[in-house]
Amino acid sequence: MNKLTNKNKISGGMKFLMIVLVTYSIVALFNFSVVKDALFNFLLIR
């Protein structure tokens, strides 16, 4: 039972990534070009 619960638990890192993606979505609602630039920089530099 414990093993099952541990397997289904979302890790802290994934939660953080989800929060960032939600932030991106909120910013995209107001200004899509900013999000587009940020994603472009992310793909280009990293």
Binding site: G13, F16, L17, Y24, V34, V35, F42, R46
Partner: protein, 144 residues
């Protein structure tokens, strides 16, 4: 016998490294996405932050560099552009040093892997020494 033992150790190490990568990958991607988003908003304020004051400039430079985080090459490009705009070299030196050594955005990641105490002490010390080193760099440049 020994080669089998070595192989199993290698296998275990490989598995553990894979597990660590699996844990850290979402945090790394999340932080890099966040840094790129913050950088876009902060970029337009860089020129307003540096006023030309010899005392305040290194402090503001270090603060700006601490919040914006990225690969060192980017800081040289930003530093070069700022220098063209007429911002003092002392501020740019502090900015470049703190850009690569102090990372406020990276603090959660660093605290997770190396401990909260270590992360705070390292960042605070780097912050203080970034100011001192930038002053020393300018003093040394003026000597020769």
């Amino acid at each position: 016998m020994e080669s089998i033992n070595k192989q199993s150790v290698l296998k275990e190490a490989f598995f553990k490294a894979g597990q660590t990568l699996k844990t850290s990958l979402p945090i790394m991607v999340g932080i890099l996405l966040l840094v790129n988003l913050i950088n876009l908003f902060a970029k337009s304020y860089y020129l307003e932050l540096f006023t030309g004051n010899l005392i305040l400039d290194p402090l503001i430079g270090t603060l700006a560099g601490s919040f914006s985080f990225g690969i060192p090459i980017t800081s040289y490009i930003v530093g070069g552009e700022l220098l063209k705009e007429g911002i003092s070299l002392i501020a740019i030196t502090a900015f470049i040093i703190s850009w690569s050594t102090v990372g406020i955005a990276m603090l959660p990641l660093e605290a997770k892997f190396l401990g909260k105490r270590f992360a705070f002490v390292r960042n605070i010390l780097n912050f203080i020494f970034a100011i001192i080193i930038s002053v020393l760099v300018i003093l040394t440049l003026n000597l020769f």
